[in-house]
Structure formats: C-alpha cells, structure tokens
C-alpha cells in the first residue's frame, strides 16, 4: 500500500529515477523525505556509504517537485560540510542526479579554492545549491550583500555534524544558522551524522529552535571486522619504544595481498618511521607507497589522494589526515598501528575500506607492545555493542563569539539587541549573561572594559543610528583573512637549495636545529642548510635523521575505550577466557598474576617496586595519558605533603609511575589518603601550574578572537608591526585585565579539556568505590614495564619558585623556542 506521500508527484519522479538506476530507496531515506515534506527539521543518522547525502538532498528536490510555487529563483539548499575535499565530489554527484532527474538547478561549491571569477558570479547570482564549509559561510556573512544571497533559502543541511559538534567549528555553524534562522524563520535545518553517544543532544544543539523536529535512524549497519596481528611470540617484557617496528614484516604480506591499503598511525613521527620501515622491509615498495600527513605539501597530498582513488598506490602510510574525506574505492585493507584511542576513530578508520553498503570493512590492528593486544579485545567488544563516544558540544566560546560579531558587523552591521537574541538562541550561548554580552560588545567597540584611551581603538564603530559596523577597510581585510577557528602552528616551508618544495614543518622544531643537522620529512632524510625568512633550505642527505616530534600528536584515550580495557584485563585473569587476544597474552598475564596481581573490575592496583635504581610507585587507572599526567602530579603532591620527597614521573595510557631515589614510605592508610576524593580539585590546582597551561590554551583563543594576527606565509610582511605572540598578550592581560573573558576562557578550557575535570572526578569516584590492592615487588611487572620504558620523565618538587630558580642555576637549562618579535 502506498501512503499519501508516496503518491505525490515528487516522490514518484524520484522513485522512478532510482529504479532506472537499479536502486531502491532505503527506509531512512524515505522517512527523511516524508518528514521533510511535512516541514520538519531534524537529523539523519546513518553509516557512511548508505546514501545519507541523498536523504536530505533529495528531500529538498522532492519538496520542490511537489510545490514549485513555494520556491523562488536563487539559493534553495545550503549544504555545510566540514571538509573541503568532500565538497567537489558531492557537488558532482548532486549535479549528476539533478541533470538525470531533469531539473535545471545548478550545484556549486564555494571555498578557498573557488575561482575568484566564479565567486564574483555567485555573489551576483547564487546557484540553487551551494556547498560551503563553516568558514566560507561566515565569509559570506561578512559580505555587504549577504541578505541577497539567502532570500530564497529553504533548507540548511549540515553534513558530518558529528565532526563539527565537538569543536569550535560547531559553534561557528550554530551561530551562522541562528543568524540565518532569525532572518528567515521558515528555514528547515537538517543534520547528517554518524552514530555517536549523544545523538539527542546533537540534535538539540543543531536545532535548538521551537518547531517540529525529528531523528531518522538508518537500520542498516556497516559490518566491521577487526583482525589483530599477533607478534611471532608473546614477550613477557614488551619491546621498547612506540614503533612496533618488529611487526612491520607481518604487515608487508597484508599489503601485498591487498589491492590498496591505508596504514594508519597516531602521530606524524610514527608515520615517517613506518614509511621507512616498510621500504626497508620490502624495497620493491619504492614508488608504490606514499606518506600522507598534514606537514606534507598540499599539492603532494592531493596527488596522493588522487593516486589512491585511481588505484595507483599499493599503500599509503597516514595519520588522522586521512581519517575523513572522499572514499578511495580501491582501498580494501586498513591497518591500524598502535592504539586506536577511541572507538569512534577506530570505526571511522576501519570504514575507509569496503565502502559499498554490504561490503565488510576490514581493519588489522598492529599493537606496538604486547599489552596493546588487550585493546584489540576491548575494541571488538565496543564495536559489537556499538558503544561509541559522546561528542561534547563546545559552549561559551567567547573567542568564536567576538569573531562572529565582527563578521556580522563587517557584512552590513547589526543592532546589539537583535544580535544578542540571535546569540542567545544558540545552544553554545544559551547561558550567556547580560554582563558577558556587554563585555563582548565592549571588546569589539572600545577595546575592552579596562583602561583609558578608548578613542584610540578602532574595530567596530557604533553609528549614530545604533548600528554596529566596521568602518575601516584595513580592519575588514585583516578580519576576513583570519575568519575561522583552525589555528595552526607557525609553519615554515622546507625547500631544497636547488629549488623544489618539500613541505611544511612547525617553526619551533626547525628553530632548534643547527645548520648541518639532519631530520626526516616526507619520507626523506634532509640536512638543514640555512633558514631564511620563514623558509628552511635543505639538501638531500642519508643516514639517520631526527624525526620531528610534533606537539599535539598525542591523542587522548577515550573514557569509553578505557572502560572496556579494564573490563578485558579483568577477564584475562579468569579461567576459560574466550578472546584469542587474551589467550595469546596468557604468559604475560600469568606473569603479572604471579609477581603482582591482575585487577578485577572493582579493584584498583597499586604496585611498589624496589629496584637497585630506587623506589617506583605504579598505579593503573587506565584513563589515558592526559588524565594520568594530572593524577601523577596530584599523587606526588599529596605524598610530598606527608613528608618532603621529590619524584620523577612517567605515564602511558594504562598507568603512571612515581619514581624516587629515596624510599617512598606509604602505609595502606596513607595510600587511601592520597587516593581520596576530598579536596580533589583544590589539590589538583595546587599540584599543577594552571597558569602555564592556560597560557598554552590562550594561543588558539588569541588567534580566533583576533588578538594575534596569524602568521600566514606570504602575508606576514604586511602585518609585521602587528605580530605578537599569544604568550605576551596573555602576560599583559594577566597583569592589566585579569577579568578579561578570553583569559577566563583559557582557564575554563584547561579545566575541561586538559585536566578533563569531569573524567578525573569520575575516576576518583570509581577508585574510592574500588578495593585497593597494594602489592610490593622487587622486579618490574608486565604492567609496569611499558611505563618504565616509555618514560617521559618529569620531576616534581614542592618548593617555591625562588628556590626552584636557585636550584636551576646548576642544572637543566634547555634551549626553548623562539617567540620574538
């Protein structure tokens, strides 16, 4: 029986078109079309490869076919996608469909790559469907004629909403939608997302407006197979380092037996290393494999992506740079080197192989140390139960807000009251107070609430009629150049002395090298010749080079995955365990059981190990390196309150170590005391340096809010007198304007992101409910050894600053990076 909707002309035309192509609509697509036709906004939840694009896009087409009188000339569907690279292909697919259906609509892309000619034409006459990124949408809002562009807009679709949701780009999207919604109340807003933990919240963030809204979930599921790669033998003591290089030889046949493979690593340095190792292990790969990460020249990256689509490459070693983006049809194998860090990321990477709806995505998991095999078991469990992480939406990002306010002031101005309402209507700023709003207005009009000399400040000017507008051309230009929230490190180009461009490397890495030193980039060993004006000149070299260790390469282990890890480890100790990974690890598990203990799910293991070197205190919260860093500092601080003692610290994703050459005396009672939940955050604040952490966080905030002019290559000259590092501005604001909201935001971000306050509190709650198992040992246990090996030493002492400085007179002075001028 056909329902009423299925009898409409629009539906009939589309259904017939699909039939002609040998396709039938999925249930979720039909549901979306129907809901859309009834005026709903909403969110489509579907795995990649099942035609989620066609759910929302065709919904608009069907609506048009059914009631063309409601549509007028101009832009009808605005399609926001987080990825530039996706836009072209999507536009092509949409245009093809439209042509076949027989409409005269045009589909166009607008982003940084768009030809200026086309851009100008778009400004005069918008296409029927426009694909943009959040950044280009904001740039459109910064145009004088912005109201003309959107007059006939019916629908805003946000593709890959899960990718935007947890980031400041999500806030940009929210603000832009709220602005457009305030102008055109009838707009329908549709999101498209993969499965995440907090779908209801995701919908509320995207569509916080009253009116009918719905979630459409595809029943189809992507089949996923996780195949762990077992090392030749299990080693009681795991191998050192993070490279997992001994498993390269096992990866080679996987690549040889596949059509095309993506090898995912977690850091750029690891990818450089694996690329080298693969070439050494199988020299015939030369010319057939490539390296892809964000420091590689974008032209080379595009060439690699193109070659991968055309099946010309046997394998690509990549970082998260290839997590997202267009499908590479020939890719039938994915290899993950080392921890996947989160269930969502792991599934996403697996999904890069086997694209068509009913193919299976296969992912091989190569552990970098034996224990990581537990993670394979944990991931399988998480994938089986589809326990995917939440994406926590960003709120109260004042840096994004002030940027947006200037954007709107630039594109024809605004009235403070009406913009206030628009901002308050978003999820991100639903709790903004009157004072905070006033502060933001003051920030862009008078340069802040602190200090005299207001008349010197020129950004947004209040017109006699109350309109807030940007008057100066130069301010407008500066602002347009800096719209966006993706802050990159100051990058330096790397070029051969003979000409030819290799890629980009962070300035701070290069500034530590001296001429003649060698480093690796883009799979080559390069010798630094000289640095001149943001360009490093190099020549090809051979031998060993330093691999740049890029900051921020460390992804946190998700709390989801860590829960499964604890669970699997506990199961490993039980007789009759089923998981092949855990059975394989049996010698190691038995060793841990013999010398110490395997913690059950309701236990918390602490090991005190006395060796010739000194005293080691190990704890295993399994909360990921970031949380462990904070916990280690906290526990060290609490012990040093009991009696004076200095520690050095080491940690990995599973646990942490406090090391001291003097005896660590800790009774069971005292242990409970240092693991207590009482005064948790106060002690955390005393044990770490929040100011220093906030200073780091302020870097992005300063750029986004326009306080630091980004050092873009080729343009920095014009703005040289406006260059200043975020660190200096942070220092100045701390001294002169401590109540600055952007400064406060930096501290909030430290607590939410760096210290992961919620997670830390939850971890201590769990520990307080657990039985604490306190074991002594005289040798390293299988659990402790990787931490020992992986040690990134940090030493803590609870002395005051002046004493510290005294102490430093004789000790570790390291060259730092340059921030001048």
């Amino acid at each position: 029986m056909k329902n009423q909707f299925q009898q409409t002309q629009g539906y009939t035309i589309i259904a017939r078109w699909m039939q002609d192509k040998g396709m039938a609509p999925f249930r979720f697509q039909e549901n979306t079309w129907q809901k859309y036709s009834r005026g709903y906004s909403g969110m489509v939840i579907a795995p990649t490869g099942f035609g989620k694009t066609f759910s929302v896009f065709l919904a608009v087409v069907i609506d048009f076919l059914n009631r063309p009188e409601q549509f007028s000339e101009g832009l009808k569907l605005l399609w926001i996608t987080p990825l530039r690279s996706l836009a072209q292909d999507l536009a092509r697919a949409m245009q093809e469909a439209i042509n076949e259906i027989g409409l005269d609509w045009t589909v166009e892309v607008r982003n940084g790559d768009t030809d200026p000619l086309i851009r100008r034409r778009q400004q005069r006459q918008m296409p029927d469907i426009l694909l943009v990124t959040p950044e280009t949408l904001h740039l459109l809002l910064a145009q004088k004629g912005r109201d003309r562009f959107f007059r006939s807009l019916q629908c805003i679709a946000v593709d890959e909403w899960h990718e935007l949701l947890g980031s400041k780009r999500g806030v940009m999207t929210e603000l832009a939608i709220s602005y457009l919604k305030s102008q055109y109340a009838g707009l329908r807003i549709w999101g498209i997302t993969a499965t995440i933990g907090n779908l209801e919240e995701a919908l509320q963030v995207l569509v916080p407006y009253p009116g009918r809204k719905t979630r459409v979930t595809a029943q189809e599921k992507k089949k996923l197979e996780i195949i762990p790669v077992f090392p030749p033998e299990v080693e009681i003591l795991p191998w050192a380092g993070h490279s997992g290089s001994r498993l390269v030889e096992q990866a080679v046949p996987l690549i040889l037996n596949s059509r095309s493979t993506i090898v995912f690593t977690n850091t750029r340095s690891q990818s450089e290393l694996w690329y080298q190792l693969l070439l050494e292990a199988w020299p015939d790969f030369s010319g057939q494999i490539a390296l892809h990460h964000s420091s590689i020249d974008s032209h080379i990256r595009h060439w690699i992506e193109d070659s991968l689509s055309k099946g010309r490459l046997k394998a690509v070693v990549a970082t998260s740079s290839l997590d997202l983006g267009v499908d590479f049809k020939p890719v039938d194998t994915v290899i993950q080197v080392g921890s996947g860090k989160s269930v969502a990321r792991f599934m996403q990477r697996a999904g890069r192989s086997g694209h068509t709806p009913h193919e299976i995505s296969r992912i091989y998991f190569v552990p970098t140390h034996s224990l990581e095999l537990i993670e394979a078991a944990a991931l399988k469990e998480a994938v089986r139960t589809r326990t995917v992480e939440d994406r926590t939406p960003v709120v109260m990002a004042f840096d994004v807000l002030v940027q947006f306010m200037v954007t709107i002031a630039l594109g024809g101005g605004f009235r403070a009251d009406s913009l206030h309402t628009i901002v308050r209507n978003t999820h991100a700023f639903s709790f903004i107070s009157q004072e905070e709003w006033q502060w933001c207005v003051a920030f862009i009009t008078t340069g802040g609430t602190i200090g005299a000399g207001y008349e010197d400040f020129h950004k947004v000017a209040v017109q006699p009629d109350g309109l807030l507008k940007v008057e100066k051309r130069r301010i407008g230009m500066l602002h347009r150049m800096n719209i966006g929230v993706i802050v990159s490190d100051a990058m330096m180009r790397v070029k051969f002395t003979s000409g030819g461009y290799v890629g980009m490397v962070e300035e701070y890495f290069l500034s530590r090298l001296r001429s003649g030193e060698k480093f690796m980039l883009a799979g080559r060993v390069l010798e630094l010749v000289r640095i001149k004006e943001m360009t490093a000149y190099v020549r090809l070299s051979s031998g060993k080079g330093i691999t740049p260790s890029w900051l921020g390469g460390r992804l946190p282990l998700s709390s989801n995955l860590s829960r499964f890890l604890r669970q699997k480890l506990a199961q490993a100790a039980q007789p009759g365990v089923r998981d092949p990974e855990l059975r394989f690890l049996h010698p190691l598990i038995a060793g841990q059981q013999e010398y110490s203990h395997i913690p059950a799910e309701d236990e918390f293991l602490v090991e005190m190990i006395h060796t010739r070197e000194g005293y080691h205190l190990f704890m295993y919260p399994f909360e990921g390196r970031l949380v462990h860093e904070v916990m280690a500092a906290l526990i060290a601080f609490r012990i040093s309150r009991l009696y004076p003692i200095s520690f050095s610290m080491a940690m990995n994703d599973y646990g942490f170590e406090l090391f001291s050459d003097s005896e660590i005396r800790l009774t069971e009672d005292q242990l409970h005391q240092v693991l207590s939940r009482d005064q948790l955050m106060q002690d955390v604040v005393s044990s770490i340096n929040a100011t220093e952490m906030a200073r780091h966080k302020f870097r992005d905030i300063a750029v986004i809010s326009g306080m630091v002019v980004q050092n873009t290559y080729g343009r920095q000259k014009n703005n040289k007198s406006l260059q200043s590092s975020a660190g200096i501005i942070f220092k100045v604001l701390e001294a002169y304007d401590p109540s600055n909201l952007l400064l406060k935001q930096a501290y909030t971000e430290v607590f939410n992101q760096q210290l992961e306050e919620q997670r830390l509190v939850a971890a201590f709650l769990r520990i307080s409910k657990s039985r604490i198992i306190y074991r002594q040992a005289t040798r390293f246990t299988p659990l402790s050894f990787p931490i020992k090996v992986d040690s990134l030493r940090q030493s803590l002492s609870s002395e005051v600053l002046a004493q510290r400085i005294q102490k430093l007179q004789n000790s570790s002075l390291k060259p730092g990076r340059k921030t001048k001028p």
Binding site: G727, A735, L808, L813
Partner: protein
Amino acid sequence: MNITEQTIIFAGEPLLLTNQGVLFWEKQQALVLSDLHLGKAAHFRQNGIAIPSRLAADDLEKLGRLIGHYQSRTVIITGDLFHAGSNKETDLLTTLTKGHPGTGFVLIRGNHDRLPAAQLHSLGINAIYRQLKINDISFTHLPAIEPDSFTICGHLHPGVAVQVPPYRTLRLPCYVVTPRQIILPAFSRFTGLDTRPVMPPATRYAFYEDGFIAIPET
C-alpha cells in the same frame, strides 16, 4: 622595585647589569637600555587589537624611577625606542624627558625608529646617532656576528627558557655578554623573547624580580 645588580668588566670598564633591564655605566653616569617599543600597544589598538593601554605609561614611569635612582646624566637608548609611527603613546615620552631636564637623552636609531629627527627632538631626544662611540665602547642597534670593537646593542630581545618541572617553562629576559659585545634585553614588557641558543663563548645573565641567573656557554 627591588633593584639587584651584577657587575661585569667590559672593555676594561666596570658596568652594572640590573634586573630592571637597564645597564648602568657608572663612570659616565649613563643609563643604557634598548627596545622600548613605545606606541606598540596603541598601534595594536588602532588596528583593532584590544591590548590594555596602560602598558606604555608604566614602562616610562619605571624608566623615570631608574633615572632618579641612578642619578644618571645620560640615557642611551640603543634603538627601537618607538614601535611604529607616532600616536598618543609616543607623546607620553615628553612627560619623561621634561621631568628630567638635567638628563640627556640619546637615541641610536633602530629599525623601528622611523620618526623624523625633528619630531624626535620635539619629544625631548637631545641627540640621534646611527652609531656612537664613547671611549672604547660603541653603541649600535644591531648586534654583529664578529664585532670589530667593544659594542653594546639591542634588537634581539634575548631571553632564556628554563624548564621547571612539571609543566613549566620559565621564560626570562637576559643580557648576552661576550668578550666584545653586550646584547641588552628589551626594556618594554610588551615584547617577546628570543630564547635561541647563543654562540659560545658567551654568558647569558637572565634576571627575574629578585636576582640573576648566570648561564655560561663555553
């Protein structure tokens, strides 16, 4: 203001390095400093970057107190007195120069000092040079790789980064002292630091509120 001093012998002369970013040449009653970057905050503000505007006044006030403390007859600024063109902040200099009529203000022009001489004079600068030599010591703005005479200069904003575990890098301004050259720290608070390693032999005298740390490079 807790002034601490460190005496060094340079070109056979005893010179006082202070933890306030100024060097005092006792025999000449001369206060030497560099890179004041007056007008920087105002220049930023004019371009829509909301830097608190009290910075410059504070820097100048501090300089005034130092002139008083050392009873200096001459103030030598080895370049980058001004950050950009003239603005309200640069005018503040007049207050300082008028307040110390017995003190001569000498500017060694730096790459940032683009104001015409007449305007500099009207702000109270008594003499302007590209390079100045007093006895055996030359004053320039730019450091030289191999100076051919004893030189005091600025420009680089030298500093050191000291790792203080955990999570901490202290960044302190410093003087770079080599057998033939002294590179002065930037006097302004609103400037960055160049913490790259220096070529030996050199000693970096880093300073903070209560004293000095000497870091020799041999």
